[in-house]
């Protein structure tokens, strides 16, 4: 009888199904059985979802569904290993994806969170104007942001002297333009909600401005991390803006998302599915870490 909170990693049943999946997934190509790409894509996605939930939340591992998911990740594991070993540029592309996404998320966080907290605490004047501008930026399509950054950074444009078009830093700039309003908007919303809730109580208890701010930030920390997670989600999935500003130059500005686009243009679908799986794993790992961090901020 499985106990709640039992350490899932040691459970033999799910691991058994995982191993079974690896065996089946490894043997089928060897005996010449070709599995449809769509099936592989679905299995990979299901398996990755399973892995993430397993790692983040812990799961009771006797359920049939869980075993099926373990099988699916085992099934695609040989394919994933083969894919990584045979794709020349995979490390470079993955590293650049991580760099551009991570840097732009961190820069956007550094800009948007302090600003959002200040706005939420009504520390800054012109609330309504700022809010209207913010909602306009919310509606800024990322591809349009990419186009505007392209025109800015092009040598024919005002910031052309920087020479940042078709470079990784240019891609970071484009993503910062896209992600900052998102983090800013959610942070402002969360902080002002908490502020409204806490203000009266804090006043009654004799808190001054600084202590009120500290209290609000403590209560809103989880919400701010949600904002960062949403911003990261936007950053890792961005394709239009980074394609336009980065130019998808081999060895220089190729990331996972833009390579999926060009793979489809060249009908290299298996390669594209593999890259998509890597995207899922990267995103999943970061989300898992952020979830853990968020749990520590909850009272």
């Amino acid at each position: 009888m499985p106990k709640d909170g039992q350490e899932p990693m040691g459970d033999p049943t799910a691991l058994l199904f995982l191993a079974l999946g690896v065996v089946v997934g490894g043997i089928l190509p060897v005996i010449g059985l070709v599995i449809d790409l769509v099936v592989i894509g679905i299995l990979a996605s299901a398996g990755i979802v399973f892995l993430l939930v397993w790692v983040v939340r812990g799961m009771r591992t006797r359920g049939l569904l869980v075993c099926a998911l373990a099988f699916s990740i085992g099934f695609v594991l040989p394919l994933a290993v083969w894919f990584v070993l045979t794709t020349r540029d995979i490390l470079q592309i993955t590293f650049l994806s991580l760099y551009v996404t991570g840097t732009s998320t961190l820069v956007s966080t550094a800009i948007a969170v302090p600003l959002g907290i200040a706005l939420g605490l009504h520390e800054v004047g012109g609330q309504r104007l700022v809010r209207n501008i913010l909602f306009t930026l919310y509606g800024l399509p990322p591809v349009l942001a990419g186009l505007l950054v392209f025109l800015l950074l092009s040598r024919g444009g005002p910031l052309g002297f920087l020479g940042l078009l078709f470079t990784p830093l240019g891609m970071v700039i484009a993503q910062v333009v896209v992600v900052t309003p998102i983090i800013l908007g959610i942070t402002t919303s969360v902080v002002s909600t908490v502020e409204r809730r806490v203000k009266e109580t804090a006043h009654v208890l004799g808190a001054d401005r600084r202590q009120l701010a500290a209290t609000v930030m403590h209560e809103a920390a989880a919400g701010v991390l949600t904002a960062v997670m949403v911003g990261f989600g936007r950053a890792i999935s961005e394709v239009g803006a980074v394609f336009i500003v980065g130019g998808h130059i081999q060895g220089q500005t190729q990331v996972l998302t833009t390579t999926i686009i060009t793979d489809v243009q060249q009908a290299a679908y298996a390669h594209a599915v593999g890259l998509g799986a890597i995207l899922l794993v990267l995103g999943g790992i970061v989300y898992a870490l952020l979830f853990r961090l968020q749990e520590r901020t909850l009272p």
Binding site: Y99, G102, T103, L106, V107, T109, A110, S154, R155, G156, G157, G160, L162, G163, L164, L165, F166, T167, P168, L169, G170, V172, A202, L205, G206, A207, D208, Q211, A214, T215, M217, H218, A221, G247, H248, I249, Q250, G251, Q252, T262, V264, Q265, Q266, A267
Partner: protein, 292 residues
Amino acid sequence: MARPVRAMHFAASRRYVAVLLAAVVVLVVVGAYLSGVGRGRGYLLMATTTSTRDTGLLPYLLPKFTGDTGIEVRYVAVGTGQALDAGRRGDVDFVMVHAPGLEDQFMADGQGRCRNLIMYNRFVIVGPAGDPAGITRSISGADGFLRIYQNASLFESRADNSGTHNKELGLWAAAGLDPASFGPWYEKTNQGMGNTLTIANEKAAYTLSDDGTWYARESTLPYLRLLFSRDEDVLRNQYSVIPVEPNLHPGVLFNEAVAFAQWLVSPRGQGLIGDFTVGGHMIFTPNGVQAC
């Protein structure tokens, strides 16, 4: 009543903020280094078309140039219009395109220093395996287009102002037809050759392609066949390399671009181009003319 408990959290969040800012600074500096800020580009940058990329010629040719000269070459593969525009903006050092009409305009505007012909391949008509319009019996490209029109067969036009698109319009004109009058069988994809071929395959439609992209993609297009191919002058797809005019854009690596153009038209470059095959087919016929 407010207590140190709150202050402790404030301090903890200060630590996070410090780490965050430090990480941001480090990452941006790394990015600036990777992007060659202040150093200038360490490599030659070319704007070319998706068709050129799709033939697979560049990964074959560029490393050999780097091996011979030590100059690294990278490229952005975009539509013909954007490739030439990148040249006009000075975002690239030279362009490799195959749209003679647009290239003439580019040179007339003084945007390029010298136009070097390097090679040509051939425009071909591909279509559904059953060939409902019967174009395999055509006597010319224009005649094939006429048959497609008469049969009102589904046709995919790239409609992206590329060299291929302009050639397609020229063939309709040669057949005495005006695409503005065509019915719904004439579809416009506004995309590159690769995507247009994929669409034509899905819809079992005719389209005009260059044989380089066709042979590179053939195995992924099971519902299409190469139906008409002939060595006519009008079906020639001429490639040129044009270094961007340095007087307009002082930052471009003009000497390196000229070195690349000269290498391409030299016996070494022309020999490599002639040796390049896709699926056993020799795609490009070298016809280099040095202009730089």
